[in-house]
């Protein structure tokens, strides 16, 4: 093939790839732009501090959902982080067939559609407890966050050189203290990033909460009672016909996306800052 044709083909290909790549990220800008444009006018002190109004009434805020989201996420963190880190350590320390099987299981857990987690939360927590609650929502989100924490712990620990462990043993430190006080802290940045990535993901999850948190027009601090959450609110209000509720949903979306973006930035920056280099 003559070289001119070759070069033309090469450049054409590059051009096409560039266009496609550019087009792929434009929806991101569209979405962000429209969320900011529609949502920013709803944001005010009242929006954050007040309770919602009834259907068709204007004004009102989303205090109940903000607090509800915080409570549910805190519960999810409390449940998933200790268990996740332990399991992650286990996967890194033990190399038997059960550990291999467990890795597959963790992947299965991660791939579970979120609606199924909702069903499980209903069957395991809501029904026996005879009620919807922040706790069931927190458990549902913990189920979603677990595989992320496990995987990031395992992968972070894998990168830590064996020599660190051996040095610790040589100094007479017990196995337990080696893991907890030497290895884990040096993997802190990776594990912390994994946890924050998990938090960013579950903050926006709605499906697991559909059958567990239930919703609540009032602020509720009792984890054994129903609670509202920002993604739930967006879902309910988005599908309603009321302009006033749409405005609130845009404002809530703005808060949610802003929160997730900020978390993402923290992860990127902190990941670099706290990283222990070998």
């Amino acid at each position: 093939m003559n070289p001119r044709k070759k070069i033309f083909k090469d450049n054409l290909f590059k051009f096409i790839i560039m266009i496609f790549s550019f087009v792929s990220v434009t929806p991101l800008f569209f979405i962000l732009f429209q969320i900011v444009r529609n949502g920013i006018s709803s944001i005010s002190i009242n929006f954050i501090l007040k309770l919602p109004k009834g259907p068709g009434e204007s004004g009102g805020g989303i205090l109940n959902s903000i607090i509800g989201t915080f409570i549910i996420i805190t519960i999810a963190i409390i449940i998933s982080v200790p268990i996740g880190i332990s399991a992650g350590i286990y996967l890194n320390e033990y190399k038997n067939r059960f550990a291999e099987l467990l890795k597959v299981i963790v992947n299965v857990l991660q791939g579970l559609p979120s609606i199924l987690i909702g069903i499980i939360a209903y069957l395991w927590v809501v029904k026996p407890m005879r009620g919807f609650s922040a706790l069931s929502g927190g458990i549902a989100l913990a189920l979603m966050m677990l595989p992320m924490v496990i995987k990031s712990t395992e992968e972070t620990l894998k990168l830590i050189p064996h020599s660190l462990k051996e040095a610790s043993y040589a100094l007479g430190v017990s196995y337990k203290d080696t893991i907890l006080k030497v290895i884990l802290p040096s993997g802190f940045s990776g594990i912390a990033s994994g946890i924050f990535i998990g938090i960013a993901r579950i903050t926006g999850e709605t499906a697991p909460l559909l059958f567990s948190a239930f919703g609540n027009p009032f602020v509720n601090l009792n984890p054994f009672k129903p609670v509202d959450a920002i993604p739930l609110l967006i879902f309910n209000y988005a599908m309603s016909p009321y302009e006033s509720w749409h405005k609130i949903a845009w404002g809530a979306s703005f808060l949610l996306v802003a929160g997730v973006l900020i978390l993402n930035i923290i992860i990127k920056m902190a990941g670099e800052k706290w990283k222990v280099k070998f």
């Binding site: 009620g131 601090l221 599908m239």
Partner: protein, 346 residues
């Protein structure tokens, strides 16, 4: 890291525990979207008056019944009463307390927002997918002065388990044999055509956006969204517009003691044919239902308030308040709600 978690857990517990011991009773309910604007208003006023928080989630009548069955809520709300077969599913006896009556209206999206006249035959044909265009001669013949567009009809129905659907399909089953055989009555149906939307709000919202759409919603949803609705030919041959008056006329019928009665296809001369009661469902024995004594007392107080003081908010939201006959029956039902063998209401 672990220290942080421990700290978080302890803070959470220390903050939440004392608040909960001093917290007043909260009631949880779920169900119909049909009366949601009224209940939402009632509960917000009740909170201001008594400090009792009532958490009501409008997830559809089916949801109200299912969650009451599972005992995950204190009360359920439904515009579809539970039939004898369904009552057997419940672990204990359930009572129906009527709260108000409302109209299921046919609303649509045609330019000019005309008020149309429809017959039961037309409605069932449209929802069966047999009449496909707005300028169909049968519709034109009934509405000669309306400029009906050459637009395809988009049917909108409920995607969730709905009491509004029950009232609507109950009516259609009475007036159309074909509907009764093909689809039947129920809260969740095997719709032959159309789009589904969640809740009365969802249906209203979707109709507003789709040109040529038609669907069924409770009257207040059409009014508050400034959507037109149809006058329907009733049993007596009159075209009746849905209103508080025409619903009241339909509700003025023989009422059984347990108040489980359908108001559709009324034989009241000027009654609106697609009317229905909406009920709050609770277990007759609240102790068996798993409520505490304190909660049971508050629940019964709430119900009593709703059929008395609460009724004043109905008409401004275009619901028909309970007639004296209906109220008397409702009072009897509430008085018979017990906690074990103790009566709750003095």
């Amino acid at each position: 890291m672990k220290k942080l978690l421990l700290f978080l857990t302890i803070t959470l517990i220390t903050i939440l525990l004392p608040i909960n011991t001093f917290a007043s009773v909260n009631l949880t309910g779920a169900g119909a979207t049909f009366p949601y604007p009224l209940y939402s208003k009632m509960f917000s006023i009740y909170y201001k008056a008594t400090g009792i928080k009532v958490n009501y989630q409008a997830i559809g009548s089916g949801g109200g019944i299912r969650q009451l069955l599972s005992k995950t809520v204190d009360f359920g709300a439904s515009d579809a009463f539970v039939d004898d077969k369904g009552l057997k599913n419940f672990p204990h006896k359930v009572v129906h307390i009527p709260m108000c009556a409302g109209a299921v209206v046919l609303t649509y999206n045609i330019s000019g927002n005309p008020f149309l006249k429809l017959t039961p035959e037309l409605i069932s044909s449209i929802f069966l997918g047999k009449i496909k265009k707005w300028n169909n001669p049968r519709i034109k013949e009934l509405n000669p002065s309306v400029n009906l567009p050459d637009l395809k009809i988009v049917v909108v129905h409920r995607s969730d388990g709905s009491g509004t659907t029950f009232i609507f399909s109950d009516y259609l089953s009475k007036v159309s044999k074909e509907w009764k055989d093909k689809v039947g009555r129920g809260k969740a149906l095997n719709w032959p055509v159309g789009l589904g939307a969640k809740g009365n709000p969802g249906v209203a919202g979707l109709i507003k956006q789709v040109p040529g759409a038609i669907g069924y919603v409770e009257l207040i949803y059409a009014l508050s969204n400034k959507m037109p609705f149809a006058s329907i030919k009733n049993e007596s041959g009159n075209f009746v517009k849905p209103s508080i008056e025409s619903v009241k006329l339909a509700a003025n019928t023989t009422l059984p003691d347990d108040m489980r009665v359908s108001l559709t296809n009324t034989n009241a001369i000027n009654g609106y044919p697609i009317s229905g009661f909406t009920w709050i469902l609770v277990y007759k024995d609240l102790n068996k239902a798993g409520l505490s004594m304190a909660k049971s007392k508050e629940l019964v107080k709430l119900l009593w308030w709703m059929i008395h003081t609460g009724q004043q908010y109905a008409e401004s939201l275009h619901y028909a308040p309970l007639s004296p006959k209906a109220k008397a029956k409702a009072e009897r039902i509430i008085k018979n709600i017990k906690f074990g063998n103790k009566t709750l209401l003095k």
